[in-house]
Symmetry: C3
Subunit: 503 residues, 3 copies
C-alpha cells in the first residue's frame, strides 16, 4: 500500500480539510509508478549561479582523480574470486545495515529483508526483499543512502527509472540479468571505478589468502591491501576473548597464555600484515582511553582477567592497556593507528541474538578525546614514526577537541565524518567545525567505510561534490582564492589520505 | 528612556568618537514611534530568487492545511467557557514566560509584568505591563517570540503599527476594545485558526469537566482531546509527592498506599482519559532513564520511599520505575508516550518561591538517550503497540543519538525541536542533523507547545515556512525532486503527527 | 620543499593517474612565488548580490567605529615604552601560539620557530623563523589566523605580496625596515587603529607601573585600563600556590597566612586596580563551579590546604570557594566578573616543561554551566550590582545553557565566541545558536583576546564583517528590518561591550 494514500485517508477520517497541492506535479503515486531516475549533474553543488560555477570548476578538477580508499569493509574474496553478484536485493539491500535499518524502523521485519533468523523464520526470497525496498523508496528521501543508491543504480548499474512498487519486478529482472554480464563482475567494476588503492579490514588471525591470491595473479593489476583490525583480541571484556586468544595463538604459533605472549603474537601478526602491504591498524573501541601500565603490572592484570578472577573494571583496564600497546607498536613499526570510537554496539539484544551484529542498532554515545588521549599523546604525540587518525560519531568533538588536538600534535590527523555523519550536510558541518582551527592540511581526506562495493564511486563522488561546494562558498566569500581552493581539493583527494594512511 | 539614546550618551561620556550610520534610515527613535507592522509575505523563505520560488510553491501547498496540535498548554476552560480575553498584556505578556524572561533579563521585575509576588508586591496594572513590554520591543529582535508576536498582532489581532513607547497606549486601547468583539472570543478564533485537533495537557486527577462540556455541547464542533501528564505522581523525589498520591486516590477511588494501588490508580485514570479522547501521555523528567524492577522489589522500594525511610537515590530509582511502568502501560493500551526531558526546573529558587513555576528560569542540561533508553527499548522498541516521541533541549543529541534510534526502532519518533529550539534557525539545524540519518518519515511533525492560544497559527505557520525553506534548499541542490518535496511537506503537516500521536 | 610538489610525486610513486587541474590557474608553485596579497574589500560578506548589498551597508555603518577592547593580552609596557617592533617573525610568529601550533603540527619544532628550549636547543634566528612560516603559508588556508594575518600584513604593514618560500627574504627585509619607521611604533599604531579603550590582563600583585606611566604622560591620550586576573591566587591545587600567596602578601602588605588575610589582600588589590581604571576581573578556571562555604568552614579548609594536609578534592573546593568570593566581591564593588572556563591547559607536559605555557596545546573539554553556576546565580543572578560575562570553548553550551541563562538573569551576559571559536563560521554559529533565545541585547559584543597587538583592527574588522553578513541574512529573510539591523550592529560594537564590561 502506498504510504501517501494511507496518509490522505487518515486525514479524511479525522475530519480535516484536505487540500491538494496543485503547484507541483506529483509522482510516485499508484498508476504513475514510472518516474525517471536521473541524478542531476550539478547535485550537491550550491544553487547560486556564481557559487555553482566555482564549485563546478573545483569539482571538475578532481572528478576523475583515482579513488583512494584507506578504510572500508569490502571482502577481498569478492575480487579474488570475481564471481558475479546474484541479484539486486543481495547486492544492495540485505547486506547494507544503513538500508535495512530504515526499512526495519518502518515496521519491516529483518527476515523480510533477507536476514537469517536464529529463531527460525525463513528469510524472504530476494525478489520479495526487493519489492519491500522499492515500495518504501520514499523512506530514504533526504538520506545519504538515497544519494548513493541513486548514483549506484544510475551510473554503475544503468537503471533509468525510480524504484517503486510498480517498477520493482521490472527492475529486479533487469538488474539480475545485467549483473551476469562480464562488465558487472567485481574486477571489471574495480577497474571502471578508477580505484588507485583499496584497503580492506581484516582479522589478525586471517591468513590473507585472498590478498595473496590477488598479489600473485598476473592478470590483476589493482592494489588491495589489508588492514589489521584486532578488536577481538583487545577487548578483554568480551565473552569470547579467551577463544580469540586461542585463535591468535594458532595463527601466530605463539602461546598467548601470558601477557608477553599475547603482545608478541600481535607484533608477529602486524609484521605478517605489513608484508602483505598493510599500512594501518583499525580499532573500534567504546572510547579513546588507553592505559600504559608497567610490564609487571600489565602481566599480573592479564593473568587475573584470563583466569576469570578480575572485576569488570579490570577487564576494561586491560583492554585499554592493549590499545595502548597498539600505539606503542605503531610508534615502532609505523603502522597508522585509525581509531573509531563512540558506538554503543548492539543496542537491541534480541536483534543481536537472532540476526547477528551489524544489523542497524549500533547507536552513538557522547565522545571525549582531550582527557582520554592525553596519556597516549604525552608519549607519542610528537613521535616521528607515530601517526593516528581520529574518527568520531559525536560531532561536538570536531571543533571542541579534535581540531585543537590535530592543530598541535604532528601525529594526529582528523578522520573524515564517519558512519551517520558520512553525508553531505554533516560533511559541511565537519569542514565548518574544523577548518578555522586546523586548516585543511590536518585532514586525512575521505574514507568510504563501505560494505557495498558498488557504492564506492558514489561515496567518493559525493565527498568530492561536497568539498567543491564547501570550498566554492569560501571562494565566493573571498576567504580563499580559487586557485588555492583548486589545490586544496586536489590535496584532500590525494596527498592527504596518502600521507595520513602512509599509502 | 530609549535604550539607544542611552547607548550614545554612554559612548560620548567615554570619549569615543561617534559615527552616525547614514546609509540606513533609522526608526524606533523617540519622535518616530509609528513604524508600520507588516510581516513580509515571504518571511523566513530563502532570499535567492530560485530557491524562494521553490519555497513559495512548497509553502503554498501546506499554508492552509488544518492545524494538528498534538501537544500544548491551552487551558480547555478557555474554550469551554468562551469568555473574552481582557486586554493585550494579560493575553500576550504576563502568562508567557518566553516574553517575561527577556524583560526580566533587562532588569524589569516580575511584578512590573503583572505577576503576583508571594512577598506582597502588587502586580502592575495591565496598561503598565503593556508599556513595559512595548518600550522594550527591540529586546525581542531576532527571537522566535518576536516572529510569533508580530504575526499574532498583525494577522490575528489586526495591528498595523509596531509596539513602542510611543504607541503603547494607543495599542492597548485598540486591542482591549477589539478583544471584546465576538470574533475575537476563543471559540471564534479556534474556528478561524483552522485547527483540526488540539491536545491539551492535563493532570490525571482532573475530572476533565471542560473536555466533557465541549464534547456535550451541540454548538461546538471542534476536537479537543486531553493528554495524560502524570509528573506529580511519578516524581517520588518531590516534597508534595505524598499529597499527590492522596489526590490520585481521591480521583480514582483506589488506595494508593502501596505500589500495586498506585499502579492500578494510574491505569484507571489512563482509561478514563482514553474514554475522553486522549491518545497520548506526556512526561517531563530530568532525564530519560527508566527502571524495570521486579514487582516485589518495586513494592518494597515504594514502601521505603513512602515511609520516608529511603535515600535520595532510592527516590530517584522509584521515579524511574514509575516512568518504566508508563512505558509498559503504553505497550498495553496504545497511548503514545511523549518524553520531554533535560530541563533543570526553577533554577532561581527565590523566583520560584515568590512567583511560582514556569516563570522563565527552567534551564536545559546535557541530555543522554542511548544508554538511558536502552532498558526500555530492549523491552518495547519493537513492540507493535508501543510508540514514543522523543524531545530534547540538547540539540547535540539530534544527530548523535535520536536520529540513529529513530532510524532503527519502529516505536521511536523524533519530536520536533522544542522550547528554546522551537525557532527558525534551530529548526533548520534539526532537519540538517536528523534527515540524513533518519529521513523525513521518522519525524513526528510539529508541535506548538504553547501557552498562548493566539500564537498557535503563527507557530505552525513559522514551522511550515521553515520546512518549505529547508526543502527548497534540498530541491535547489538536486537532492530532492520538487514533487517529492511537496509530498514530504504535506506529510510532515498531516500524516506524520497523526501517525506519531495516533490522532 | 613545496608541499604540492611533494604531493604530486607521492601520487606518482604509487602509480595513481595524475590529472592536472586546467580550469583554474595555479599559484604558489615554485617559480611563481610572487602572488599578490590583496584582501578583497567584500571578504566575509555573503556572495548573493542582494544580501551582499545589505551587508555592505550594515558594515559601512560600523566599519570606522572606535574599537572597544574589553579583554586581551597586550602588554601595557609596549605602549608605555613605545619601542619599535624588531622584525616580522618576532612580531607575528614566535609569540602567537595560534600560528606556532599549526607549524608545529606540520613537524616544525618550536625552537625553529624562535622559542627558547629549557633543554638547551638554541632558538632559530628570526629570519629562519620567518622562512619556516612563509614556506608553510598554505597550512593557514581557511583558518582565522590567515584572515587576520592577511589583513595585518596588507592593511597595517603595507605588504602587497603573499608570503611564500620565494618571498620570505624580501618580506623579512621590507618589514624589518618598515617596523623601524615612527608610524609603526606601538603608540602610533594605537592611534591609527582607532582604539577607544583597551583593557589589559594583569596580575593582582602587579604594581601597574606601565598603566600609571601612561596615565601620567601628558603626550598620551589613549585609554588603557588594567584587568584583575587572580588565577594564581585562586588555584589552590597549583604547585606554586603558596608562593603566589607570599607574592600577594608582599604586594598588598596584608598577611595571607589565613583565609581572612587572603580575602582581605584580594579585596585590597581589587581596590588598587579600580583606582587605576579597572572595571573587570578575569578568570580562567577548569569549570564554572563556585562554592559558598560559611566563613569558619572556609577558614578551616584554607588551613588544611595551606598546611599541605588536604586532599586533592579539598584543594579543588577551596579554589571554587575563592572563585565564589570573587563573585561576592563583584556584587559589592561592581567589577564585572569575566569567566573563561573549559580549557585543559598544557596537554603535552614535555612541551610545557621545555617551552613554558601558552605554547599551543591547551585543549578544550566539555563545559557545563547550568548546574555549575546555580549556587552563584541563586545568590547574585538578580543582584543589581553584580554582572558576569560567560565565555565557552564548548559551543554546545551556547543554545543549551548560555542563551537560556542570559535570557533570564539580568546579571548574565553572553561572551563572544572565544579562542578556537573566534572565527567567521564559529561566529555565525554563535549568533544562530543564541539569538533566537536571547536576542541581541544579552550579548557582550566582541573581544579580541589577542596577544598580537597588530591583529587588533583585523580581529574587530572580521567580527564586524561577520555580524554584517549574519544580520544581512536575517534582513534578506525578512526576519529583521534593515534599519533595526543597522541599529543592532551599532549596539553590538558600542553599547553592548560598554554596558557588559562597565566601560
Amino acid at each position: 500500500m502506498d504510504h501517501r494514500t494511507d496518509s490522505t485517508s487518515a486525514a479524511s477520517s479525522n475530519g480535516a480539510r484536505t487540500t491538494t497541492s496543485s503547484a507541483a506535479p506529483r509522482r510516485g503515486m499508484p498508476g504513475d509508478g514510472r518516474v525517471p531516475l536521473a541524478p542531476h549533474p550539478d547535485r550537491l553543488l550550491p544553487p547560486e549561479p556564481e557559487r555553482r560555477a566555482i564549485a563546478r570548476r573545483l569539482y571538475e578538477g578532481v572528478r576523475d582523480l583515482p579513488l583512494i580508499s584507506p578504510h572500508g569493509h569490502v571482502d577481498p574474496r569478492l575480487l579474488a574470486e570475481d564471481r558475479p553478484f546474484p541479484d539486486p536485493a543481495s547486492l544492495l539491500v540485505t547486506p547494507d545495515h544503513y538500508v535495512t535499518r530504515l526499512l526495519h524502523a518502518d515496521g519491516v521485519g529483518l527476515p523480510e529483508l533477507g536476514l537469517r533468523d536464529q529463531d527460525g523464520a525463513e528469510p524472504a526470497e530476494p525478489r520479495e526483499v526487493w519489492r519491500a525496498f522499492c515500495s518504501r523508496w520514499h523512506l530514504f528521501l533526504g538520506t545519504a543512502s538515497r544519494q548513493w543508491l541513486e548514483a549506484e543504480l544510475h551510473e554503475v548499474l544503468g537503471v533509468a527509472v525510480q524504484p517503486s512498487a510498480d517498477t520493482a519486478d521490472e527492475l529486479f529482472d533487469e538488474l539480475t540479468a545485467r549483473l551476469r554480464q562480464p562488465e558487472f563482475r567485481p574486477r571489471a567494476l574495480y577497474e571502471s571505478f578508477g580505484i588507485a588503492v583499496l584497503a580492506t579490514t581484516d582479522d589478525p588471525a586471517d591468513d590473507l589468502r585472498h590478498h595473496r591470491a590477488l598479489a600473485e595473479d598476473p592478470s590483476w593489476s589493482g592494489r588491495v591491501v589489508p588492514t589489521f583490525r584486532p578488536d577481538r583480541y583487545l577487548d578483554a571484556t568480551a565473552a569470547d576473548w579467551a577463544r580469540a586468544l586461542d585463535d591468535l595463538a594458532a595463527a601466530s604459533g605463539i602461546d598467548t597464555g601470558d601477557y608477553a605472549g599475547l603482545v608478541g603474537a600481535l607484533e608477529a601478526r602486524r609484521e605478517f600484515f605489513r608484508a602483505r602491504g598493510a599500512t594501518a591498524t583499525d580499532h573500534s573501541a567504546p572510547d579513546a582511553r588507553m592505559a600504559f601500565l608497567d610490564p609487571a603490572e600489565a602481566a599480573a592484570l592479564f593473568d587475573r582477567v584470563r583466569s576469570g578472577g578480575a572485576t569488570g573494571d579490570e577487564a576494561v583496564l586491560l583492554s585499554q592497556q592493549l590499545l595502548g600497546e597498539m600505539a606503542r607498536m605503531s610508534s615502532e613499526d609505523g603502522m597508522v593507528l585509525a581509531l573509531h570510537t563512540g558506538s554503543r554496539r548492539n543496542h537491541h539484544p534480541d536483534t543481536r541474538r537472532r540476526f547477528g551484529p551489524d544489523t542497524g542498532h549500533d547507536i552513538p554515545v557522547r565522545a571525549e578525546f582531550t582527557r582520554a588521549l592525553q596519556p597516549m599523546l604525552e608519549r607519542f604525540g610528537t613521535h616521528p614514526r607515530f601517526r593516528t587518525v581520529l574518527f568520531t560519531l559525536d560531532e561536538t568533538a570536531f571543533s571542541r577537541e579534535l581540531a585543537p588536538l590535530a592543530g598541535f600534535y604532528p601525529a594526529v590527523y582528523l578522520g573524515a565524518p564517519w558512519w551517520f555523519l558520512d553525508a553531505p550536510r554533516a560533511m559541511h558541518r565537519f569542514r565548518d567545525a574544523v577548518t578555522e582551527t586546523a586548516g585543511f592540511y590536518r585532514s586525512a581526506g575521505f574514507i568510504d567505510d563501505t560494505r557495498g562495493f558498488c557504492s564506492i564511486p558514489a561515496r567518493h563522488d559525493t565527498a568530492r561534490r561536497v568539498d567543491a561546494a564547501h570550498l566554492a562558498g569560501l571562494v565566493a566569500e573571498h576567504v580563499l582564492a580559487e586557485d588555492d581552493a583548486a589545490q586544496v581539493i586536489r590535496d584532500l583527494n590525494d596527498r592527504q589520505p596518502r600521507t595520513a594512511f602512509r599509502l
